[in-house]
Structure formats: C-alpha cells, structure tokens
C-alpha cells in the first residue's frame, strides 16, 4: 500500500503544482509534498525492515534491501533539497533570474522527477525501469534549461541528446534481454520481471546477455556519467539551478547505477564469468583518473564538483566491478555518502555563488569572514568529499582501496594518482574561497544551512557509527549483488 503513496504523492504533487504553482506558497507546498513522500518512504522502509523483501502490486513492484535504502535516500535528499530550494529560489527571483511561471515549471517537474526516480527504483519490470529513467531525463531537461540562458539551453540540449541516445541503446539492451528471457519464460508480461529473470538467470543465453549488457552498460552508463560517456554531466550540473544540480548528482546518478547493477546481477548469473565486472572496473578506473585530471583545470565551482561526482561514480563503479562482499558493501556505502555529501556541498556552493554573484571560483573569497557557518559548511563538506575521516566517505574509500590493494594491486597506482590529483585540485581551489580576506556582501535572505549540516552530521555519524539495521541492509544488498 505504501508503494502507491510513495509513487502517487510526487505525481499528484507534480500535477497540483503545475496547476497551482503560481501561488505565493509554491515552495512550501513543494516541501510539503516532498515531506509526505519522505513519510511514505519511511513507512515502506519500516515495513521492509519488518517483513523483508517483498513483491508489491501484483508483482509489478519489488522491494528488497538493495532498492529500499536507495528509496529512503532519494526521498530524504529530495526533501532536504526542497527545503534548500525554498530560500534559494526566492533569492534567484530577487535577482530576477526567474519568474513565477518558471518557478511553477520548476516545482512541478521537480516532483515528477522525484516520482520517476522512485518508480525506477521500485519497479520490478526492466521495461518500466527503462521508461522511468527516460521520464526522469525528460523531467530534468526542462529543469536544466530553466534559466533560458544560451549556456543553459546548450547544456540542456546536450543533456537531452546524449542521454536520449544512451537510453535508446539501453532500450535495445532491454529488448535483447527480453529476447533472451522469452526463450525461458515464454513471451508476455512476466518475461521482463526482474524477479523472474533472477530466478532463471542461469538458463539465459550467454551470448545474447553479454551483448545486452554492453548496450545496457553504455546506455545507463551514459546517465551514470562514466567516462567517456560523461560529456553531458558537467554542463548540465553547472548550468542548471543549484537544487537541480544537487539532485542530479546526488540521486539521478545513483538510480542509473542501480539500473546497471540490476542488469549486472542477471548477466553474472548467465555468463558465470567476470566479464561484466571487468568492464565496470575498466570504466570506473578510467572515469576516476580522467575526472581527477579534468578537475584540475576547472574555474567554475559547480562544474568542478560535477567532475568530482564523475570521479566518485567511477570509484563506486570500480568497487561494484570488483564484486565480493566487502567491495559491494563499500560501494553501497559510498553511494549513500556521496549523495549526502555532494548534495550538501551543492547547497553550500549555491548560496556562495549567490553571494558572490558568480560561479567563478576566482570571484568567491573569504566566506568564513562574512558568514562563518556557510564557510565552514563548504570547508567541511569539501574535506568530507575528499575522503578525510572521520567523515563517512572515508569509511567506504578505506574499504575500497584496501580491497583493491588486495584483489587488484595493478589498479592502485591509478587510484593513488587520481585521489592525489583530485585532492590537490579541489582543496587548493576551495581553500581560498573559504579562507582569506573578502569584501562580499551578506545575503538578502537567511541561507538554509540546516540541510547542509544535517547531511554533514549524518555523514560524520556514519563515518564513526553505522546503525546495525542499516549495516544489515548493506550486507543483504551486497550479498544480493553477488557478495
């Protein structure tokens, strides 16, 4: 039952806001809907904790420990982001970059975007999964081009075309999957249900599945932002409004990776070799290294953190590629940590850019002078994302790197290099933004820093203490992914 709330609330929210969005309190309504979604997600999670994995809605939906924590995460970040976007968008309106109509569009497609992601996460049908991913893309395209500036249009266009193509390839992969499944399960609706596929994965035709996986990996991989398919990502993150950047790199990338993983499970079952894993490790490493070197040359703060998202996604993909209980566990942990931390950073960055009136890092200086909390938020967030303990990102990087050193030593020099370069670049650029002298003015509205510190607090806590039931989720999920 919760599932329908979970999916219904954002949908109705989208429609409602599309109709009434011009009202003065649209941001609050948006936040309310997100809150409701969060509650529904909480209920669902609670039920899963109680009763374990289950099929819902006549087998159309399947919730297990892998996606339930992503659902919870998505609902949570969506809610905090809506909180953040409230003052942020107000200020944007003050600055005259947006008007009511655009805000209406923003709010309704925000809700729809969230709904689409939740659908993608919960559905049991690989086809529907594809549909939902596409829907999410479409919803965000409009969000990216919200400012209607040439740059934002260009970004949105690239985003649309590249992801569209990618997702089309994913569809081809899905067709091949269905093609293979149909032999075993017979044609009709059930042949695309993941649970059924998972049940018979050993009998699926290897050659077809390996082809299918290539298409799925390239397709969904484009959305994950794996190099060299990542080209859309920095533009879309840099040019869209900051809340959108936050949910893009905090949530959408996760969902895409979720899709990849679902298919990887099947392929591994069918092939019985490590082909899928190797491909993912290759992509992961390449993304990590390339992103690290690209970070070094950034001047735009949001663009820089977009590249850092690519880097982290690469790391996670690499970990999933390695496989095994520890690595999968680490990857899942890293997914959580990355979305929390990165969205927090984007919140802080959003206010900082508004303050300075530019996204160029050379224009942002000495934040802790004029408002210390913002400055410390950005500094701590950066430190956290760079994998410095006691923040949780370190916990997962610790597991990933030590495992890599033990399983695949050849990869560690690249990791060492990439992490070093990324650290030098990001920290070297953020430090002067936070420290030093400044003459920047204060903000007209009180920036919403509660989400920032809420996220960072969570990340800190998870770095030092992971609640047992959460750990159990991770373990089960890791196991389910072939740990």
């Amino acid at each position: 039952m919760e599932i329908f709330w979970l999916l219904g609330i954002p949908l109705t929210g989208g429609i409602f806001l599309a109709l009434w969005g011009c009202r003065k309190h649209a941001p609050e309504i948006n936040a309310l809907f997100s809150l409701a979604t969060l509650l529904a997600a909480a209920l669902l999670t609670h039920r899963i904790i109680d009763q374990g994995p289950m099929m819902v809605g006549a087998g159309w939906f399947f919730i297990d420990s892998f996606n339930v924590f992503l659902v919870a995460l998505t609902a949570f970040v969506a809610f905090t982001t809506s909180l953040f976007s409230r003052p942020y968008m107000r200020i944007e309106e003050e600055h005259g970059r947006l008007n009511d109509k655009r805000l209406r569009l923003y709010h309704s497609s925000y809700q729809i975007f969230i709904g689409a992601m939740l659908l993608a996460l919960t559905t049991n049908n690989m086809g529907i999964l594809w549909v939902a991913m596409e829907a999410a893309t479409l919803a965000t395209v409009l969000l990216v081009s919200l400012y209607r500036t040439p740059a934002s249009l260009e970004a949105a266009w690239k985003y649309f075309i590249l992801c569209g193509v990618g997702i089309a390839l994913a569809l081809f992969g899905t067709i091949l999957l269905y093609f293979a499944a149909e032999k075993v399960l017979g044609s009709g609706g059930t042949a695309l249900l993941w649970t059924h596929l998972n049940g018979v994965k050993a009998q699926l035709e290897p050659t077809v599945l390996s082809l299918a996986f290539v298409f799925l990996l390239v397709g969904y991989g484009t959305k994950v932002g794996l190099a060299p398919l990542h080209s859309w990502l920095p533009d879309a993150h840099a040019e869209g409004p900051t809340p959108v950047s936050a949910v893009l790199s905090g949530l959408l990338l996760n969902v895409a990776l979720y899709a990849v993983m679902r298919s990887k499970v099947l392929v591994d079952g069918a092939l019985g070799n490590h082909m899928a894993g190797n491909l993912m490790m290759g992509f992961g490493l390449f993304s990590v290294v390339l992103a690290a070197f690209l970070i070094k040359r950034q001047t735009d703060v949001k663009r820089m953190f977009a590249y850092s998202s690519i880097e982290h996604m690469g790391l996670i993909t690499f970990a999933f590629g390695m496989g095994g209980a520890v690595a999968n566990f680490a990857a899942l942990l890293h997914m959580t940590m990355h979305s929390l931390t990165k969205s927090a950073i984007f919140f802080a960055v959003g206010h900082a850019t508004q303050k300075a009136g530019t996204q160029l890092m050379s224009g942002i200086r000495g934040l802790i002078q004029t408002n210390p909390t913002l400055g410390w938020g950005l500094m701590l967030g950066t430190v956290a994302i760079l994998g410095v303990p006691p923040f949780g990102v370190f916990a997962s990087e610790f597991l990933i790197i030590t495992t890599a050193m033990h399983e695949h030593p050849w990869a560690t020099p690249f990791l060492l290099l990439a992490l070093g370069v990324a650290f030098a670049s990001i920290f070297g650029k953020v430090q002067p933004m936070v420290f030093g002298e400044t003459e920047l003015p204060k903000l007209p509205y009180q920036p919403a820093l509660a989400p920032v510190f809420l996220h960072l607090g969570l990340v800190l806590m998870l770095g030092l203490f992971i609640p047992p039931y959460l750990a159990d989720w991770y373990r089960q999920a890791a196991h389910l992914l072939g740990g």
Partner: protein, 220 residues
C-alpha cells in the same frame, strides 16, 4: 524453411527500412528528411501489422496502430509545422561528406549483420533474420546524428533510432509487453513535445537551429 510469402514481404519491408535509413543519411534537405522519416514509420507499421497478422499476436496491432498514428501522422506533421514556423529548410553540408558517410554506413551494416548472426540462430521467431537489419538501422541512425550539424535532423536521427529499436522489438521478439510499449510511446511523444519547446527556445536565443552556436561549454 521456405517462408510464406507474407513473411517474405516482411523481409522486403525490412530491406526497405534499411534502404530508407541510407536515404536519410544522404538526404540534405530537412523537408525531405521528414518525408523519409514518415515513410520509415509507415514501413514499420506495415511490417508490425503483418507480423501481428501472421502470428496473430493481437497486441502487436495496437503497437502498429500507435506507430502509424505517432510516427507517420503526428510527428511528421508536427515537424513540418516547426520547419514552416522557423523556416529552417536547408541543412548545411554535414560534418563528413556524403560518400564517406555512405561507406561507413556499409561497414556498419556488415558489422551489424555479423553481430546479429549468432543471435538470429537462437531466435525462434520466423522473422529472426531481420534482427540484423534492425541493429543496422539503429547504428545508421546513430551515424546520422553524428554527421548532422542542425538540431532537427539530429532529432529525426534520434527518432529513426527509435524506429530501429521498435523494429528490433517486433521482428525479434514479437514486441515487448504492451505496458512497456505504451510507456515507450508515451516517452517518445513527450520527448518530441519537449523538443518542440526546445526548438523555439533555441531559435529565439540563437536565432537559428544550427548546432555550431552551441559549442560554448567546453574546457578552456
């Protein structure tokens, strides 16, 4: 096995699809492109219907109808409207010149066939051999997207790709489950709609649909 002649027709249509894809690759004028796209849609619908009839899979009729409505009537009409509104008929010289593109296309087709061969062996459907063609269409559409330097042709390429996918679905697997197909169709529809909005926005910001205006975002 000897094919019953309506299945031969299906194969014929498949060949036609491939041909149209090539034609699209070589077509310079946007209007022509749209027409070709419509024809491709028609061929697709026809083949789907045929397969539905020959293997009496009823839900395929729906998808045939859907194709007909969307890709033969709605979209081309919509595109023509846009083209007329923005009067952007002429496409400039594509990135790679036509003969080269053709050659690459041929290579792709061969590649696709080789790729599809082992799969077709497994296919239980009567129309298995068409899978290679479908894949070829997809790749050709991709190539077209790469070579075209204006917005609309690129989008048409994108849609042609979807056609290819659709053909793959019908020919190799007698179509996906209906829900999925409806979803896909819906997405395509929305996508095209969104694109329409886009064209106008792009147009009013860059006052042309030429993609070379949209190369600002890069690493300095």
């Amino acid at each position: 096995m000897t094919l019953t002649y309506h299945l031969q027709i299906v194969n014929l249509l498949a060949a036609l699809l491939l041909l149209i894809s090539f034609a699209m690759l070589s077509q310079r004028r946007i209007a022509g492109l749209i027409t070709l796209f419509a024809w491709q849609g028609a061929a697709l619908a026809a083949s789907t219907a045929l397969i539905a009839w020959s293997t009496n899979q009823h839900h395929l009729y729906y998808s045939a109808a859907l194709t007909l409505v969307l890709k033969v009537i709605a979209m081309p009409w919509y595109f023509f409207r846009i083209v007329r509104k923005l009067d952007v008929d002429r496409d400039v010289e594509p990135m790679i010149n036509i003969p080269t593109t053709m050659l690459i296309g041929i290579v792709l087709v061969i590649f696709a066939f080789n790729l599809a061969l082992p799969i077709s062996e497994l296919s239980g459907t009567v129309t298995r051999s068409t899978l290679g063609i479908a894949l070829a269409c997809v790749l050709l559409a991709f190539l077209m997207m790469i070579t075209r330097s204006k917005a609309i042709p690129q989008v048409i390429g994108f849609l042609a790709m979807e056609n290819g996918l659709f053909f793959a679905a019908t020919s190799a697997t007698y179509g996906m489950p209906l829900v999925v197909e409806l979803g896909v169709a819906l997405d395509v529809l929305v996508g095209v709609f969104v694109l329409g909005i886009f064209f106008f926005q792009i147009r009013e910001t860059f006052d042309s649909l030429d993609l070379k205006h949209m190369e600002k975002l890069k690493e300095k």
